[in-house]
Amino acid sequence: MARVGIIGIGHAAFGRRSDATVQELAFEAFRAAMNDAGIGRSDIDASVIGSVPEYHKQRSLAGVVQEYLGLNPKPTWLTEVACASGCAAVRTGWMSIMAGVHRVVAIVGCQKMTELETPEILALMGRVGEVQWESIFGTTFPGYYAMFARRHMHEFGTTHEQMLSVAVKNHFYGAKNNYAMFRKEITIEKARDSDPVASPLQVFDCCANADGAACVILADEERAKALCKKPVIWLTGMGCATSSMSVLRRPNLVGLPSAQIAAAEAYEMAGVKPTDINVAEVHDCFTIAEIMACEDLGFCKKGDGGKLIADRQTYIGGKIPVNLDGGLKAKGHPVGATGVSMTVEIAKQLRGEAGERQVPNARIGLTHNVGGIGQYTFVQILRRE
């Protein structure tokens, strides 16, 4: 089977980036990825932009990014599946190369979220759920994950303390990531003292809106081997699935069916098992989401996710290190950029370039990028030979 490899990675600093437009953020990540790959723009056949349009005043974002990157007249298009737009872009680039249409594709995830005024954010927040039957009761994004959390606690005895331990871990690693929004460790006491958002979730259970961008350059096997001076990181398992938009149509509220299906697909394609994964990036938009992700991905049994973090098994040296870049929680969550950022982090880990956050001898890594409350999930397995 044909193969697609990552030949360049780049990352812009996440956070409140009042110094830059969204296309300027995209350029920071793109330039870094091009320098990393050691190639020029004439080597790029197309770009795919992962971003969520409703946060930007600029309509049709791909056009303005493509122009600013200096990639005209090469083709470009936008992928949008809420918070999973980034890995959707990775998958779309992979598909175009597998189909033999393009040979080298730039994947750019970029998002500017902090320019919106509070009323605009609150209005958007009220429409994240299914609007006909759910949003009319003032449901919110944290509110949905809070309902998962409450049910998870009920069925498995998961504690809120275990959830907050996820935040403590992710801030511990985020403090060591130059690109993270919050570069400060936190204590469980500080997390416990934070304001309520949607019970049982508090401020420190939630990730933050952010600005940012990340970029990976993908190439077919022949071009990857010819162009790449560093170890090529291969996309070997590409899983993707959906679940109902409405929480009312879900089989249960203790996991995301789309994540379970996407994971099974990715493991099968890559020919690996959950125990083969050396390092993972999972979608911790809320602390309960990381706990459910570890279960959905098979890192532990369904219901044991709280115990996994309580036993420190998701730290370096544990059974499966998770979110060593700080995760969405500490790194910030510029929605369209997040999935690409996860891909960058795993590529870094597999190359051995993650510095003090490095998992020793990591060869196989995984990304888990979720849109909404699991309406879309992408699970992608990366491998260094």
Binding site: L122, Q132, W133, S135, I136, G138, G143, V197, V247, R249
Partner: protein, 150 residues
Amino acid sequence: MFKWFGKVNFSPFTKVSAFADHLKDGRVMGSRCTKCGALSFPPRADCVECMHDGFEFFEISGKGTLHTYTKIAVAPTGFDDMVPYTVGLADLKETGRIVAWIGETIPEEEIKIGMEIQVVPRIFEEREKIKVYYTLEKPGTTWSKTDSMN
């Protein structure tokens, strides 16, 4: 008229618009496919099982059990005057699930996953302004007109 449905309504036009008219008369309706008989709540005009486009409404008992809930402290636009409010998700006896506020017949300290609830229609009517919705209440609670959305 479906625009009556909800404190804030985001989707005034739908093929199941009569749902709101029934609700105004104190009935909560699900849908039944006229071809294969599949039931749905919330109602849908197009059968998800057999793809048939014919449906009829049927009244649900409103009986159910609480599946999960959350007390929301940070509200979106249009709900800030209600904060904090508790949203419950219940499994309905006949079919499907429902999301709604947990009403005043159930005090906060009595809310418990697995408890029985009754879906109760609420009608808020002022001159030239009608809003209909429903809440999750203690079994035995009957529907009523209400003079506030809070």
